[in-house]
């Protein structure tokens, strides 16, 4: 008995929808096994992790707060991944965006009027885009591997933030704590829906919907999809791979930078040595779980946001290490990528003996 993968003639639409669901189910099953191994009741563990955060208003609001940056970054990464540009550095682009956005309220605290916030968001997007363009330019100019360069720049960005918060941008009235000054009201993202969420959530949803339309309906979206699947056919269509690399990195960086600025302006209200619990990395999982489709990414963002809240939940209620959240996120990415195989292949059980030497004909 052995398992064979048989290539389908076309992509399976059913499997394209089912594969993320199968991945989530397999992740839940693995999580249950993990809970059992560590001596906890798996059912209670799963409930605390995946369900309980949805039952209370405060945890639901916290989930939305966590989901917002994940969705925004994930949307930008989807543009990169669809066009075959492997941007792994969204975490750094998020941080540099936050730095650019914070420059205004920190360096010019007295500049308080209606355009303060729009300017901050604009700067944030520009900062993220500039940071993302570094690996893009290195790739188009010198053929470097963007996976490595974008990832390495994450740590550069982190150290830059750390230096600024402990050094020049430290709050002069902050008793030497490594924090920037608290942003003024004009530099703070307002809350909407009676304080249930920050303005960042509706902004994110609108951006995701616009991006979904661009990807599905426009020539630019077509170009992105063609380049991702078949660069040679893309150049036959007259599209430029280099220009698209710059474009997709700039979009992903801008959205990550915007998310960074909205995070410091809305949720944190100041710069801290650490402003992200790994949003930029988790968003990679969000992008793939959402099938690189902005609407799917909205849903996937919520699922991954749950893992943050749920991780805290099981830690406080059951004494399981908070690291369980990272483990479950990793499992989820693993299963999502594995299940994607089913879209173009189907599984067949074969009971006959294994022939050898299919590969070599030398």
């Amino acid at each position: 008995m052995r398992i064979e993968l048989v290539k389908r003639k076309e992509h399976s639409r059913t499997m394209a929808l089912l594969s993320p669901l199968i991945a989530v189910a397999l992740t839940a099953l693995s999580a249950a096994i993990l809970f059992s191994i560590t001596g906890h009741n798996p059912l209670i563990g799963l409930y605390k992790f995946f369900i309980e955060p949805l039952t209370q208003q405060w945890s639901l609001e916290a989930t939305i707060d966590k989901a917002t940056p994940l969705i925004l970054i994930g949307c930008g990464l989807a543009v990169c991944y669809l066009s075959n540009n492997w941007n792994i550095g969204a975490e750094g682009q998020f941080v540099v965006g936050a730095l650019f956005g914070s420059a205004l309220p920190i360096l010019f605290p007295s500049f308080e009027n209606v355009i303060t916030l729009p300017l901050m968001l604009l700067f944030g997007a520009i900062g993220g885009a500039l940071w993302a363009l570094i690996p893009a330019l290195l790739k188009t100019r010198f053929n470097t591997n963007e996976i490595l360069t974008s990832l390495m720049l994450v740590y550069v960005a982190g150290l830059l933030l750390d230096y600024l918060v402990r050094g020049p941008w430290r709050d002069p009235d902050g008793y030497n704590f490594p924090e920037s000054r608290i942003f003024s009201d004009a530099a703070t993202l307002p809350e909407v829906f009676g304080g249930a969420m920050s303005l960042s959530a509706p902004i994110t949803i609108v951006i995701a919907i616009v991006l979904a339309i661009v990807l599905a309906k426009t020539l630019k979206g077509f170009e992105i999809r063609v380049m991702g699947e078949s660069p040679r056919a893309g150049s036959f269509a007259g599209f430029s791979a280099k220009r698209l690399t710059l474009f997709s990195f700039a979009i992903a960086g801008a959205l990550a930078g915007l998310a960074g600025t909205m995070e410091v302006s809305g949720a944190l209200n100041q710069l801290l040595p650490s402003i992200s619990p790994g949003y930029g990395f988790t968003a990679i999982i969000v992008a793939f779980l959402g099938r690189l489709n902005p609407i799917g990414i909205i849903i996937a963002g919520f699922v991954l946001a749950l893992s943050y809240i749920g991780g805290e939940g099981v830690q406080s209620a059951m004494g399981v290490s908070n690291e369980i959240a990272s483990v479950i996120q990793g499992l989820l990415l693993f299963f999502v990528l594995a299940c994607d195989t089913l879209i173009l292949y189907r599984i067949r059980m074969v009971s006959r003996r294994v022939p050898t030497g299919e590969a070599s004909h030398v």
Partner: protein, 531 residues
């Protein structure tokens, strides 16, 4: 390639092999009821095949008829689902290629498996179970290769060798193992006519020595010329066996297709030559990679109303020339003129807007995106050509499917359901689609690379006729092809490309296969250098 040209006194190829009653000869391989299934497709359906000792046995069939599947089972790279193979009078299970070689079955593949950075003797040593001392092996290679009329220098680096010589390496590699059956998959598709003649002599000598050859080819002329017996496959079944010497290429073709193949008519209507539509002037380009070919001072004028064909053995710069003409590879502006406008530095969509159209060699991955629907693949080449496919940046799926239906009907593209992904079409149907996509625009200039490569006879005839019709309606058509039969069928003028040099285009009526062969083997090069 030079050495095969130098040998002017080739012995005559024995045109009419002596016929013997097959049953009286010794049976070497007897396959009974071989069946192989891939999913829903029955690739081989109860195939019976007998190969005698000393026989050159042709295996004929259209693409997808099951030829490759059958020989892969003989060579041990596929396992039959049902049926048995008798070797001599012993029942054998051929589990892998090593087992096949042990029995004495060798195979020469269409696509070579050589390491370009290594030399001849190293490549051969890698394939032998116990190569022994390298110097002894080099001597054996020299002796065997000279003996069989396929001389090789064991110290040559493969990357420097032309395709014809590379094939010799593969053949000599087989011969060193003293095979009793050699399987050859389309061996002449990479050879000049002269090199092919040389190969036929070797095969005939092998056959005289009692070695059997299973010969797969689409070139029915040569099958008629050298094969003793032919088995014809259609849809995985043996439909006929015959003596090819008693058949004509046309009758062999209709056995393969199962119907009469419409003859393409080019010469009947003399072209009305108009003004120059495409001009190449001193087109040169450096090789982009170590394995690419540089283009050397190529000049050509393509005029309205005519079909010009560029012949040449694979890998002599055809792909690079196509990319330069299409605009995927930039050149200096003055090197390429479309309707009198210098445009060597303009991109492919600019050229399409000048009413030029292009069909590349590779259907999947270059001419079409495998995972996209046909209607989306129409947008691929026609988004900039004013077909109302794009408005205000948005792609109109409605307009795209209108075009898809029109092309499907006009070019008889067969599919299991409407608007499938490109990858699910068979080679012939996808080729009809990618050619039809451009012809549907009624382009003034059409450049097509290998228009019927790997396409079945029916689809090939349809495509060739469409190319001629386009030219006769006043467009200029440039065909790059390795298929000499095709070239002589459709071309008004013929040029030959060799190592990135292009010979002057001469009227097809003045050209002979011998002359084309000489140009392929380097004549184009010297001509190009003089020019």
């Amino acid at each position: 390639m030079g050495d095969s040209v130098a040998e002017t006194t080739l012995p005559e190829v024995d045109e009419h092999p002596v016929q013997q009653d097959r049953s009286e000869k010794d049976t070497l391989l007897d396959a009974r009821g071989l069946t192989k299934r891939f999913g829903d497709i029955l690739a081989n359906d109860r195939v019976d095949l007998i190969i005698n000792k000393g026989e050159i046995h042709a295996l004929l069939g259209e693409n997808g008829a099951g030829k490759s599947t059958l020989v892969k089972m003989f060579y041990g790279s596929l396992e039959p689902d049902d049926g048995e193979i008798l070797w001599g009078d012993r029942r054998v299970t051929i589990g892998n290629p090593a087992a096949a070689r042990e029995l004495g079955i060798g195979m020469v593949f269409q696509h070579f498996s050589l390491f370009e950075a290594l030399n001849v003797v190293e490549n051969i040593a890698l394939a032998l179970p116990n190569p022994g001392n390298m110097q002894d092996l080099a001597k054996r290679i020299e002796t065997v290769s000279r003996d069989y009329g396929l001389p090789l220098d064991p110290e040559d680096i493969v990357a420097d060798l032309p395709v014809g010589i590379r094939q010799r390496i593969e053949i000599v590699r087989c011969l060193l193992q003293e095979p009793r059956l050699i399987i050859m998959d389309e061996p002449t598709s990479v050879l000049t006519p002269q090199e092919a003649d040389q190969l036929f002599l070797t095969l005939q000598r092998l056959a005289k020595e009692g070695c059997a050859v299973l010969y797969i080819s689409h070139r029915l002329e040569e099958v008629k010329r050298i094969c003793h017996h032919a088995t014809i496959l259609r849809h995985g079944q043996v439909v006929r066996e015959c003596d090819p010497t008693l058949e004509t290429p046309a009758s062999l073709a209709s056995m393969m297709v199962g119907a009469d193949v419409a003859a393409v008519s080019a010469g009947e209507q003399a072209p009305e030559i108009g003004e120059t539509r495409l001009a190449l002037q001193g087109l040169s380009a450096k090789a982009a990679t170590p394995f690419a070919t540089a283009l050397n001072n190529i000049s050509l004028e393509l005029r309205a109303g005519e079909v010009v064909a560029i012949a040449g053995v694979a890998g002599n710069g055809q792909g690079e020339l196509f990319d330069a003409i299409s605009g995927e590879m930039p050149a200096a502006a003055s090197m390429i003129h479309l309707d009198g406008t210098a445009c060597g530095n303009k991109n492919i969509n600019w050229r399409r807007k000048q009413n030029a159209a292009f069909v590349p060699e590779e259907r999947l991955g270059h001419g079409a995106v495998p995972g996209m629907k046909l209607s989306q693949n129409i947008v691929l080449t026609r988004h900039g050509t004013g077909d109302k496919l794009v408005g205000a940046g948005f792609v109109s799926n409605v307009e795209a499917s209108v075009l898809e239906k029109r092309i499907k009907q006009a070019f008889d593209v067969r599919m299991s359901h409407d608007d499938p992904e490109a990858r699910s079409l068979s080679g012939g149907n996808l080729q009809k689609f990618v050619v039809g996509r451009e012809l549907d625009r009624n382009p003034g200039i059409l450049v097509v690379n290998q228009p019927t490569w790997g396409v079945d006879a029916g689809a090939a005839a349809l495509i060739r006729q469409a190319l001629i019709d386009l030219a006769r309606s006043g467009s200029a058509v440039l065909v790059i092809s390795q298929d000499l039969d095709e070239i002589f069928e459709i071309a008004d003028r013929i040029a030959v490309i060799s190592r990135g040099f292009l010979s002057e285009a001469e009227p097809a009526t003045d050209m002979t296969r011998e002359r084309v062969g000489l140009l392929m083997a380097g004549g184009a090069e010297t001509q190009g250098e003089v020019a």
